[in-house]
């Protein structure tokens, strides 16, 4: 029944290999390369659809497909195996679906690039890794995907490898993720040995879930084992999902091509941390401490990144910080026990944020061509060079606008449902917390503000593009606009699968909740995680959050539409605040001083201080001493260095003989 699951990651892998090996020398044709890349992913999407539908009609909701053994040493037994359950089924739909659209888009966007084949090969390889991450039935296969997506992200950030800034950003992303991986592996080790102490030696997710209850009561380092393990895992999640304190790589990752930002740095890879918590939800549910930390870190990240989003002028950077902030929302959801809401927001975010990124790509693409045409080297990503593009690029504008409405959480767009569920749980969950709720509400207000700031600066008002290039800005071709339209459509209606009970007038029910219940319900029930409150409270909160979003939009409208001189006045009034926010709170600089530079200094000390001065100094000193002695015995010198060597060996052999004959 489910024994062809491996086909899902296989197709993109095949695509990556074909384009990687044959693309440059043999295929060459962009259309063919693009068709192979997109087609392979589309095939994978079709297989995913088949299994998704099959799972919907199946009464058993968890299926494993082991294709080979990986290694077995002692107690450790690892297979190459896949797991399909509602959670992974939903994820593969998002990954392959959004992935296919972005591949299609890339054909237009990357047209004429020298490394076209390389790009598609990496992109396919990325989807392969992401699918391994999502489908892996044990923590090590997940880790293969986990590192694999990191690698592809590295390669794609550094796609323009001749640019130093791209290379640096790629390296930073990888190393920072490595810090997170440290946590992931540590969590895995702890879990493996902790379960092993109860006689259960496994890293298989299904078996972990079944046996997690054994761990209750186990202590390590004065804390419960589950707390320690899940905190370690969460460190891994902060790396991959760009949360405090490991978020600074994501904005730099915008050095890569824009579709990459849409696919990897918005819709899929960065959500891996959220998915991982969902996968191990039972362990997190067992530790209220960890869940609080998760929610708190998520909330703080949400608001912190939003403040930086206020002051950025690079359109992609605004979206990057917005992504960091939205991921914070997802972690809040996971932290307050609203697992379904977290995954829900992951999905709707994939739609609207991918649409926003691709829309920004469409704008950048058009700007770039216009500037190039006019032989100008103005920044094609700086919103201060844009404005008034609404008329020139109507489809891009419309889809971008819809996505802005969705991310701000205006009623009946997808973001409204998912965000509202998170807010509700933060407020009413047994693991919820009013302070976190307040922080998230403020972050929601800020989101609406900076997104509409971005929308206005780009599409409304006077066009500020250099006059020479002004008239060369055109709407993008269909391969670019089609994915935009599809994603905008999903961003509009995608939320309807999760209608909250309080406003479910037509009694369609919360489809997503029911679908994901087999994965989350168990732990929520066992550890009494639920949101309780009256329907009227829920509706009041809902109205309130809509009002908050409208207020944010209103502020942006006043500042960037009605009186465009206001932002300048504001900046002039609070120059320090603006500088600090504009410079991202100087987090990069702080990290550089604290960690990077000090480690580098240690390295210099190890090498030049210790190896060269101390060790070699001593050795050379002895050598000189020997040299001085040997000058006394000059008559034995034959001048040939090699003779010494032989003499030494001979000497040893003679000594050996003497010893034995004794």
């Amino acid at each position: 029944m489910y024994d062809k699951l491996w086909l899902i990651p296989f197709f993109p892998l095949l695509g990556a290999i074909i384009n990687g090996l044959l693309g440059k020398r043999f295929i060459k044709n962009e259309k063919v390369i693009g068709a192979i890349g997109t087609g392979m992913l589309f095939l994978s999407f079709l297989v995913s659809c088949k299994y998704f539908i099959q799972l919907l009609g199946d009464s058993v909701k968890s299926h494993q497909n082991v294709i080979a053994s990986w290694m077995s040493v002692g107690k450790l037994q690892v297979d190459w195996g896949f797991l399909l359950d509602p959670l992974s089924a939903l994820m593969i739909m998002v990954v392959t679906g959004v992935g296919t659209l972005i591949h299609l888009y890339s054909i237009g966007y990357m047209h004429g690039e020298e490394g076209f084949y390389r790009y598609f090969s990496y992109l396919n390889l990325f989807v392969f890794s992401m699918l391994m991450l999502v489908l892996g039935n044990n923590a090590l296969v997940m880790f293969v995907g986990w590192e694999g997506v990191g690698l592809c992200s590295y390669l794609l950030i550094g796609y323009y490898f001749e640019k130093k800034s791209a290379g640096d950003a790629a390296k930073k992303a990888f190393v920072m993720n490595r810090v997170g991986d440290f946590g992931f592996l540590l969590g895995l080790f702890t879990l493996f040995w902790a379960l092993g102490s109860h006689g259960v030696w496994t890293i298989n997710f299904v078996e972990i879930t079944e046996n997690a209850h054994l761990l209750s009561g186990d202590m390590i380092l004065g804390a419960s084992v589950t707390t320690v393990a899940t905190l370690c895992f969460f460190l891994g999640a902060t790396g991959k999902s760009a949360q405090l304190p490991l978020f600074t790589w994501l904005p730099d990752a915008m050095e890569g091509p824009t579709p990459v930002s849409a696919l990897i740095h918005a819709a899929t890879m960065v959500t891996a941390g959220v998915y991982m918590i969902g996968r191990m939800n039972i362990l997190f549910a067992m530790s209220p401490t960890t869940m609080f930390v998760v929610a708190l870190v998520g909330a703080l990240t949400a608001i912190f990144a939003a403040t930086i989003g206020f002051a950025q002028n690079d359109i992609k950077r605004v979206l990057a910080y917005s992504t960091v902030s939205q991921l914070g929302f997802m972690f809040v959801a996971m932290g307050v026990g609203a697992f379904t809401a977290g995954i829900f927001h992951l999905m709707t975010h994939a739609f609207f944020k991918a649409c926003l990124f691709l829309g920004s790509g469409s704008v950048i693409h058009a700007m770039h061509h216009a500037l190039h045409h006019a032989h100008l080297d103005d920044d094609a990503q700086d919103m201060r060079n844009m404005g008034g593009l609404r008329k020139k690029m109507p489809i891009t504008w419309a889809t971008f606008g819809i996505s802005c409405l969705a991310i701000s959480g205006l009623p009946f767009f997808s973001g409204f449902f998912s965000k509202d569920e998170i807010l509700w749980w933060a407020f009413a969950s047994t693991r919820g917390n009013k302070v976190i709720w307040v922080i998230v509400v403020v972050a929601a207000f800020m989101t609406a503000f900076y997104m509409f700031r971005c929308l206005y600066m780009t599409f409304y008002g006077e066009q500020k593009t250099n006059p020479k290039a002004k008239d060369h800005v055109h709407e993008s071709p269909w391969v670019i606009t089609l994915p935009l339209v599809v994603l905008a459509g999903l961003a509009t209606v995608g939320g309807l699968i999760g209608i909250p009970h309080a406003i479910d007038i037509a009694h369609v029910g919360n489809k997503l909740n029911a679908f994901l219940a087999p994965v989350f319900h168990h732990s929520q029930e066992l550890y009494k995680i639920e949101a309780h409150g009256s329907a009227s409270t829920e509706i009041i909160l809902m109205v309130f959050s809509v009002a908050i979003a409208l207020a944010g939009i209103g502020f942006a409208t006043v500042m960037y539409m009605k009186d465009p001189s206001l932002p300048g006045k504001f900046t002039a009034k609070f120059p320090t605040l603006h500088r600090v926010v504009f410079n991202k709170w100087y987090v990069d600089e702080i990290y550089d001083t604290l960690f990077v530079n000090s480690t580098k200094k240690l390295g210099i000390f190890c090498w030049k201080g210790f190896d060269v001065k101390v060790v070699d100094g001593i050795v050379n000193g002895i050598a000189k001493l020997v040299g001085a002695l040997s000058s006394v015995l000059r008559y034995t010198q034959s001048g040939l260095f090699t003779n010494y060597a032989l003499t030494m060996v001979l000497g040893t052999v003679v000594m050996l003989a003497i010893f034995i004959l004794n």
């Binding site: 001749e162 991986d181 540590l186 040893t652």
Partner: protein
């Protein structure tokens, strides 16, 4: 310990040592015809590889520890016997040696000075290494230990880089001083055992029964450790390696990093640990600390190297630190990981050394200041460089990861703190390896020089390595299976 010597069987193990020796002699006899020497060495190393492969496939599994055992009386007067014994660990090392040797010969194809001597030395080195990995008699072991030293010394001092003389001398003195202590310890152990039992023997199996006082055991252990730690090399006895690897000719670096470095660790496993279980037990924490210091020290130092060969030398020290840590943890999973990592490190770093040699041939430099942009100029070379680099930083699904995860997982059970510290060190591996990748592959290319992509010969060297790197990452089982028995015996017999 069961000894499988029921039937007189074909002396496969001796063949592994004799074949390269014969090849070396033949090379010297044909010194006037370099082309013949090349072909001859290639044929010899392929034959040895064939034998090793045969043993791996047909004798790779067996009951008890020994897969093959050869025992012939040798210098009867001293009780020195010609004993060769192969367990699963030795089998892997033999396989690695013969495999790397083929690559080394192919890599040395373009050597032009003293061709016959070069290949003769290369083959002699192989014979020495095979001997070290197979000998089960201490005199024999010591003999091969020294035999392997001499060709390496000449390879560096005659065919090496600008500072070859100094580097070769340093290499030679370090190892010689180390092995001198080992020699004394061997003789002392022999005397003590003889006086105790009346049977004078150098065979390790016999010496295992020696009753030693704590002080005796400590001193003898120290003697052996002097040789093995220098060879491994653990900080602070490592600076010979960075010099030797940097100055050595390409084929020499390949053998040095891939094989010769492993002899020290192999000596720990095969000789020092089993002979002195109590001293070992006391020493393990110190060993772990030395290993961890090496791991970090070398990783931090590697980050600042401009010469890519020197960077790789430091990276080797760092990796071997992890190997030693796994042994010090004295845990089954960790041991298997260490041994697997030893093999995979040989291949990944070996591959990188090959690529560095090719880059130096093409550009005339190894300095990262003068390199860059190779990704665009020579895509195949660049791809393989990236592949081996990623394997080296421990990307899951590639060779080193399998070993590393086992080492860390196993160590974590016995000594969580060690594993946590070592895991931190792995973070730094990413930093220096990616700096290497950035310095060599990314960045603008040097337009004034063209860098041709891989030739057929170079593909033949690198492709098998690349396949192995993926294979050992995806399915290391065939390499793990032979060593289960040996590791179990060693762990059980070593510590009470």
């Amino acid at each position: 310990m069961t000894v499988l010597t029921s039937l007189p069987q074909f002396p496969w193990l001796s063949l592994l040592i004799v074949l390269p020796l014969v090849g070396a002699l033949l090379c010297l006899m044909h010194s006037k015809r370099p082309a013949d020497c090349r072909a001859l060495s290639l044929a010899t190393s392929l034959a040895v590889f064939g034998v090793a492969l045969y043993l791996f496939i047909c004798h790779g599994q067996g009951e008890g520890r020994w897969l093959l055992y050869e025992d012939v009386s040798w210098i009867e007067r001293f009780g020195a016997r010609y004993v060769l014994a192969m367990d699963g660990i030795a089998l892997l090392m033999v396989l690695l040696t013969s495999f790397m040797q083929v690559s080394a010969v192919l890599l040395a194809w373009r050597v032009e000075r003293h061709v016959s001597s070069f290949f003769a030395l290369l083959l002699l080195l192989e014979a020495g290494l095979m001997g070290i990995f197979l000998a089960y008699d201490l005199v024999l072991f010591y003999l091969f230990w020294e035999v392997a030293l001499i060709p390496m010394f000449f390879l560096i001092s005659v065919w090496g880089g600008a500072n070859r003389r100094q580097a070769a001398l340093k290499f030679f003195l370090y190892t010689l001083v180390g092995s001198f202590f080992m020699l004394i310890a061997i003789i002392a152990l022999y005397q003590i055992h003889g006086a105790q039992s009346g049977v004078y023997s150098f065979v390790i199996g016999d010496l295992l029964q020696t009753q030693l006082t704590a002080a005796q055991e400590g001193w003898l252990f120290a003697g052996f450790m002097a040789a093995f730690i220098v060879k491994s090399p653990l900080v602070p006895f490592h600076t010979w390696l960075t010099d030797a690897l940097t100055e050595s000719p390409a084929a020499g670096s390949l053998d040095l990093t891939g094989l010769l470095l492993k002899t020290g660790i192999y000596g720990l496993i095969r000789v020092a640990f089993p002979l002195f279980p109590n001293a070992t037990e006391n020493f393990l924490p110190i060993l772990a600390i030395l290993a961890l210091i090496g791991l970090f020290h070398a990783a931090w130092s590697a980050y600042h190297q401009d010469d890519i060969k020197r960077l790789l030398a430091y990276s080797s020290i760092s990796h071997l630190g992890l190997v030693v840590l796994g042994l010090a943890a004295w845990q089954f999973t960790a041991w298997e990981g260490s041994i697997l990592l030893m093999v995979s490190h040989g291949i990944t770093t070996g591959g990188l050394f090959v690529l560095v040699a090719l880059i130096q041939e093409r550009t005339g430099t190894r300095s990262m200041k003068e390199l860059g942009g190779l990704w665009g100029q020579a895509p195949c070379l660049g791809f393989l460089f990236l592949l081996f680099s990623l394997a080296s930083l421990g990307l899951p699904g590639l060779a080193n990861f399998s070993g590393e995860i086992l080492v860390l997982l196993g160590t974590f059970q016995q000594h969580p703190l060690w594993a946590v510290i070592a895991l931190l060190g792995v973070v730094f591996a990413a930093a220096y390896i990616l700096r290497l990748v950035q310095g060599v592959l990314w960045g603008p290319a040097y337009k004034e020089r063209s860098v041709p992509d891989l030739t057929l010969r170079e593909w033949i060297i690198l492709l098998p390595m690349a396949i192995l790197v993926v294979w050992m990452g995806v399915y290391p089982e065939p390499f793990l299976a032979p060593m289960h028995g040996a590791v179990e015996t060693l762990l059980a017999g070593g510590l009470p």
